[in-house]
């Protein structure tokens, strides 16, 4: 029974994604609403992304410093931190924060619209709710995650610099120079691609669970919960797949 249910869900999600691509590439385009959603996503996540990235930069630097110092390789600290942040920490922190913040928001918002018949009201008034509610959110999260990841990388590296500076009194320009020589263009590019995939996964899963919720308020809670849990799981799966893929091409 559970297997059947899982297979039905997988096929439903597959159809949902196909529907997304059909609507996303056919007029009328929802440019105005996509911009609104992008602003909303950026606005909602900015504080949390800033806070967690800054702390992650500080903590990672502080934890790595003694190990490197024991090998006399303390000068490699900026290089180590920057590679860790850009390749993995930045996208992962941003992805998880957004999965929690945006996933629950989208799942609950659409779920509540569904159970109070607001989506049906849009449908019967001919206003194409799928394009307006789903396509805009998925496109916005796919576009905004890479931007947030670049921002998160910057904040984490700044936090790391403050820590390095407290150990060694090294200047900001020297730190930036160390960082820029240790990061390749492909690192930044792959991190942005990964972030876009995270954004797509968060948007699709959250909108799917909200848009198809039922059973009143219990259904809304379940939709929000599913959105967060499944999005987070998919973030780790995508991270692993991207890691394997990048190891092949590096």
């Amino acid at each position: 029974m559970t297997l059947t249910k899982t297979l039905i869900n997988v096929s439903d999600i597959y159809r949902f994604i196909i529907e997304f691509f059909k609507r996303a590439f056919s007029p009328p385009y929802e440019g105005r609403e996509i911009v609104n959603q992008c602003f909303s996503i950026g606005n909602k996540s900015l504080f949390l992304v800033t806070f967690t990235s800054f702390l992650a930069g500080i903590v990672f630097t502080k934890q790595s410093q003694p190990s490197l110092a024991s090998f006399g390789a303390e000068s490699w600290l900026p290089s180590l931190v920057s590679q860790a942040v850009v390749r993995s920490l930045g996208p992962l922190i941003t992805g998880l924060i957004c999965a929690g913040k945006l996933g629950s928001n989208m799942g609950a918002e659409l779920g509540s619209m569904k159970v109070t018949e607001q989506i049906d009201a849009m449908e019967v008034s001919g206003t194409r709710p799928f394009s307006y509610l789903v396509v805009t959110r998925v496109v916005a999260s796919t576009l905004m995650l890479p931007i947030l990841v670049v921002y998160s990388d910057g904040v984490a590296l700044f936090g790391s610099f403050l820590m390095v500076n407290s150990f060694s009194d090294s200047g900001f320009l020297l730190y930036i120079n160390e960082v820029s020589t240790s990061i390749a263009l492909i690192d930044i590019f792959s991190s942005m691609v990964k972030a876009a995939l995270f954004g797509f996964a968060i948007g699709t899963i959250s909108c799917y669970s909200g848009y198809n919720s039922s059973n009143g308020t219990i259904g809304v809670g379940k939709a929000a919960n599913t959105a967060v849990v499944v999005s987070m799981t998919f973030i780790f799966i995508i991270d692993l797949i991207m890691l394997q893929f990048l190891n092949l091409i590096r």
Partner: protein, 257 residues
């Protein structure tokens, strides 16, 4: 059970049929909700569908606008065969049919103004603020609530929400109105006001309407004709007084309340 008083021609308006449903069936998994429903609706006619909660009344009107897909049967609305419409044609039909939801279904993230502007912008591509203002104010005046224009749905009472929901559908000038339990959860006075509004809408907008209700006073006040939906079948049909006079056991609990 088979008693089916014919519709009194004098009461029903003389216009042509705008809705024709034949042998509609709809089930959810193993639960058959609509067994065999047939009905028609004439131009400028108010048809009340009376039935107990859970008798499939809402399912019936949701099938009419393609929100639910019927298992079998024919549904013709304004010459569109709903069962076989493409998405574009279905949208075309929906623009001509107003649907007032039981819970009003106002978009709670928007103000009353934005709720009414939404279908105008999305369907008619009207973005001119002066034109939007005029249309919104007119629709709100028609339901007597122009003062609520900048309020949010959570600041409105149940009756006000129902009126705003009706205004939002009227703004697209529909040819047919579908009311799903328009008076449920309202006090008698507000119910009376909503019933008055339903009659005013018919007169001002020349609409034909289907009113889904289990409220006998609503059916009596607004309907030209009543169909009783019993056990998923449209069994009794006639004017309110005709149905009341049948003394049918299935309807006794409605009329002898």
């Amino acid at each position: 059970m088979e008693t089916q008083p014919n519709v009194t021609e004098a009461v029903v308006s003389t216009g042509g049929k705008v809705v024709e449903i034949k042998h509609l069936k709809k089930s959810f998994n193993d639960r058959v909700v609509l067994k065999d429903v047939s009905l028609d609706l004439h131009d400028r006619e108010n048809l009340a569908i009376l039935g107990r909660s859970g008798s499939g009344k809402s399912v019936l009107i949701k099938c009419m606008v393609g929100l639910l897909k019927a298992d079998s049967g024919d549904i013709h609305v304004l010459d569109y065969n709903v069962s076989s419409l493409t998405a574009a044609k279905l949208n075309e039909l929906r623009l001509q049919v107003g649907f007032s939801f039981q819970g009003s279904a106002l978009y709670d993230s928007m103000s009353v103004r934005q709720n009414l502007e939404f279908p105008l912008k999305r369907n008619l591509g009207i973005y001119d603020s002066a034109q939007l203002e005029e249309l919104v104010i007119t629709a709100l005046k028609d339901v007597g609530l122009e003062r609520t224009i900048d309020q949010r749905p959570d600041e409105l009472s149940g009756g006000m929400k129902k009126r705003i929901g009706i205004a939002r559908t009227l703004i697209l000038k529909p040819k047919i109105m579908l009311y799903d339990e328009p008076t449920s959860g309202l006090d008698p006075q507000t119910s009376e006001e909503i019933n008055e509004l339903i009659l005013q809408v018919r007169d001002r907008y020349n609409t034909a309407s289907i009113i889904i209700t289990h409220d006998v006073s609503c059916a009596r006040q607004v309907s030209d004709r009543v169909i009783a939906l019993i056990d998923g079948e449209s069994k009794l049909e006639g004017t309110f007084e005709e149905l009341k006079a049948t003394n049918d056991s299935n309807l006794s609990h409605f009329f002898n309340y």
